[in-house]
C-alpha cells in the first residue's frame, strides 16, 4: 500500500467514529437487548421474555397486520401514481411545467408534524372540509377517526400525498436518462405511444421503480409519526397501530427496551427479506 493512501484513514476517521458509536454499537446492542429481560434490574439473559412474548402478543399481531395492510395497499397505489405523474410531467406537450412540478413535489418538503396537523383538521368529523365537501355532493360524513377502516384509509391517503412526489422525482430522473433517440427510432418504426411506454419505458425504468418500491416499503414499514399524530396514537383502539408505534409505546412509554428491540429486529428481518426479494426480482430482469 502506498504511503499516501494512509491519508484515507484520516478522512474517514470522524465519519467512522460517529458510525461506530451511533450505528455499529447500537446494532449489536439492540440485538443483545432483544434477548434480555429489561423489566428487572439488572437485566438478565432471558430469550423467552421478549421473543417468546412477541409471538404470542395479540398487540404485536395487530400492529403487524395493520402495517402489512398499509404496505400492501399504499405502496402499489403510490408507486403507480408516481409513475403516472412522472410520465405526464415528462411529456413535451405540457404547459406550465414548473407549476405542476411544484404541486407534486411540494409535499416532499412539508414536515410530518405540519401535515399531520392539517390532515387532522381537514378530516375532522363535524368541521372537516373533506366531510363538508362530501356532504355537498350528497355523501354522508365519514368518521375518519372513530372508524378503524376509515382511519386506515386516512393514513394511506396522507402518506401517499406526502411521498408520491418524492418517488415522482426519482422516476422522472430515470425517465430523463432514457435517450430520446430510442423513442425516435420507435416512432419511425410506427410503434404507438402506448406500446412505446409498455415495451421501452417500463423495462428501462424497472430498476428505478424497484428501488422506489424497496425504499417505500421500508419507509412505510417504519410508519410512526402519522399514526401517532393523525390518528391519535394508533386510534381508534389500536385500529391504526403500526409496528413503529407499537415499538415506540413498548420502548419509550413502557421503557421495556428488550421487548422494543425484539420488535425492531423483526422489522429488520422483514427489511432484509424485502431487500433480498428485490435483488432476486432485479436479477431476473438481466
Amino acid at each position: 500500500m502506498q504511503l499516501r493512501n494512509r491519508a484515507a484513514y484520516g478522512f474517514l476517521a470522524p465519519y467512522l467514529l460517529i458510525f461506530a458509536a451511533f450505528w455499529i454499537w447500537p446494532i449489536i446492542s439492540s440485538f443483545m437487548m432483544s434477548f434480555q429481560n429489561t423489566r428487572i434490574n439488572p437485566w438478565v439473559f432471558s430469550p423467552g421474555a421478549n421473543w417468546g412474548r412477541l409471538f404470542t402478543d395479540p398487540a404485536f399481531y395487530n400492529a403487524l397486520k395493520n402495517t402489512m395492510i398499509i404496505l400492501v395497499i399504499q405502496v402499489p397505489v403510490m408507486i403507480t401514481l408516481a409513475t403516472v405523474m412522472a410520465v405526464l410531467l415528462n411529456s413535451p406537450l405540457l404547459k406550465a411545467r414548473g407549476l405542476f412540478r411544484f404541486a407534486f413535489f411540494a409535499p416532499v418538503v412539508v414536515g410530518e408534524v405540519a401535515y399531520a396537523a392539517v390532515f387532522r383538521l381537514m378530516f375532522n368529523l363535524d368541521f372537516g372540509i373533506i366531510n363538508k365537501l362530501l356532504n355537498s355532493v350528497g355523501i354522508a360524513s365519514i368518521s375518519w377517526f372513530s372508524d378503524a377502516s376509515a382511519a386506515m384509509a386516512l393514513l394511506i391517503i396522507a402518506v401517499t400525498w406526502r411521498w408520491a412526489g418524492y418517488n415522482t422525482i426519482i422516476i422522472l430522473a430515470g425517465l430523463q436518462s432514457i435517450p430520446g433517440d430510442v423513442y425516435e427510432a420507435a416512432t419511425l418504426d410506427r410503434v404507438s405511444k402506448l406500446r412505446q411506454f409498455i415495451y421501452i419505458t417500463l423495462p428501462l425504468l424497472k430498476p428505478i421503480i424497484l428501488f422506489c418500491v424497496v425504499l417505500s416499503i421500508i419507509g412505510s414499514m417504519q410508519l410512526f409519526t402519522e399514526p401517532m399524530l393523525i390518528t391519535n396514537r394508533g386510534g381508534p383502539g389500536g385500529g391504526t397501530e403500526t409496528l413503529g408505534l407499537f415499538l415506540y409505546r413498548q420502548g419509550f412509554t413502557s421503557l421495556n427496551f428488550g421487548y422494543a428491540s425484539a420488535i425492531a429486529y423483526t422489522m429488520a428481518a422483514l427489511a432484509i427479506l424485502i431487500s433480498l426479494l428485490n435483488l432476486w426480482v432485479g436479477r431476473d430482469a438481466k
Binding site: 500500500m1 499516501r4 493512501n5 494512509r6 491519508a7 484515507a8 484513514y9 484520516g10 478522512f11 474517514l12 470522524p14 465519519y15 460517529i18 451511533f22 450505528w23 454499537w25 447500537p26 446494532i27 439492540s30 405523474m85 406537450l93 405540457l94 404547459k95 405542476f100 412540478r101 411544484f102 404541486a103 407534486f104 413535489f105 411540494a106 409535499p107 418538503v109 412539508v110 414536515g111 410530518e112 408534524v113 405540519a114 401535515y115 399531520a116 396537523a117 392539517v118 383538521l121 363535524d126 365537501l133 400525498w161 412526489g165 422525482i169 430522473a173 422506489c212 421500508i218 414499514m221 391519535n232 415499538l247 420502548g251 419509550f252 427496551f257 422494543a260 428491540s261 425492531a264 427489511a271
Partner: protein, 278 residues
C-alpha cells in the same frame, strides 16, 4: 400535417385534463394549511365551507406562543439544522473523498456496511442511541444530543463519493506532483469542484434535520429544549388548544423550506434523484 397537429392537440388537452385536477388535489392540503393559519378558531370550526384565507394570522401566532414557546423552538430548530448540515456535509464529503480516491485495507468492507445500512430500519439503532445519550452520557435536552447522533448518513457518503470519482484523476495527480498535501488537494481542489453536489446534499440534509421528529421527540422533550416540530406535536391532540395557532405553527415550519424549495428547486431535485443513483 393537419391530422398530426390535431392529434397532438387532442393529446395535449387530455394530458392537461388529467393533470390539472390532480395538481389541484395535491395542492389542496397545502392551501388549506395557509387558509387555516389565517382563520380564527370559530372560523375553522364553522359549519360553512371556507376555502379562502382570512386575516387572523398574527393573532394565531400569538395564540400559539401562549400554548408553547414556539419562537424559542424555532430558534433551536434553525440552529440545529444549520449546524447539523454544515457538520454532516463536511463529514460525508471527507468520507466520500476517502472512498473515491484512495485504495486502502478495509475499503470494500466499509462500503458494504454503509450500503447495508440503507435498508436497515432506524428503530434498530434508536433504542440503544437513546439509552447511550440519555442514560449513560446524561445528555438529554442538549444541543449535542440533537445534532451528533443523526450525523451518520449513508446516502450522502455515496452521493459525494460518486461526485469525487467522476472528477478526472489527472487533476489530483497534477497537484500531487506539485507537492500539494492530500488535505490541501481535498480542500482547495476537490471541494470547490464538488460545490453543486454539496449544495444538493446540504439542502436534503437541512430538510431532514428541520423536519426530524422521532429523535428530537425522544431526546429533547423538556419544554424549552424542544425543536419546533416536537413543540408543535405536543399540541396536537390536546383539547384546550388553539387550532389556528397550530396551523400558524405548521405554516411557520413549512413556509421557509417551501421558499428554499422554490429558489433552489434544481439542487433539491438533484439531491432527491441521487437516491436512485447507486
Amino acid at each position: 400535417m393537419k391530422s398530426q397537429s390535431r392529434s397532438t392537440l387532442i393529446r395535449s388537452l387530455s394530458l392537461h385534463a388529467v393533470l390539472i385536477p390532480l395538481a389541484l388535489v395535491w395542492l389542496f392540503p397545502l392551501w388549506m394549511m395557509f387558509v387555516f393559519a389565517t382563520m380564527p378558531d370559530y372560523g375553522i370550526f364553522s359549519p360553512q365551507i371556507e376555502l379562502l384565507p382570512s386575516t387572523h394570522f398574527i393573532e394565531n401566532v400569538s395564540n400559539l406562543q401562549a400554548d408553547t414557546d414556539f419562537i424559542r423552538a424555532l430558534i433551536i430548530s434553525i440552529g440545529v439544522a444549520i449546524t447539523y448540515t454544515v457538520l454532516s456535509v463536511l463529514l460525508t464529503s471527507m468520507a466520500g473523498w476517502a472512498l473515491a480516491r484512495y485504495s486502502f485495507v478495509g475499503k470494500s468492507l466499509v462500503i458494504a456496511i454503509i450500503l447495508g445500512t440503507i435498508t436497515l430500519p432506524y428503530f434498530v439503532v434508536v433504542i440503544p442511541q437513546f439509552i447511550m445519550v440519555a442514560r449513560e452520557f446524561k445528555m438529554a435536552n442538549t444541543w449535542i444530543a440533537l445534532i451528533v447522533p443523526p450525523l451518520f448518513n449513508s446516502l450522502g457518503v455515496l452521493f459525494m463519493r460518486q461526485a469525487f470519482s467522476m472528477m478526472p484523476v489527472e487533476l489530483f495527480d497534477a497537484a500531487r506532483v506539485e507537492g500539494v498535501k492530500e488535505w490541501q488537494i481535498f480542500l482547495r481542489i476537490a471541494l470547490p469542484l464538488a460545490r453543486p453536489t454539496m449544495a444538493a446534499l446540504a439542502i436534503i440534509l437541512f430538510l431532514a434535520s428541520w423536519n426530524n421528529y422521532l429523535w428530537p421527540l425522544l431526546i429533547n422533550s423538556r419544554p424549552g429544549m424542544m425543536t419546533a416540530p416536537v413543540a408543535l406535536g405536543t399540541l396536537i391532540g390536546l383539547t384546550k388548544v388553539s387550532w389556528g395557532g397550530i396551523m400558524a405553527g405548521a405554516v411557520l415550519l413549512t413556509a421557509p423550506i417551501l421558499v428554499i424549495f422554490i429558489l433552489l428547486q434544481r439542487h433539491f431535485i438533484a439531491g432527491i434523484a441521487a437516491g436512485a443513483v447507486k
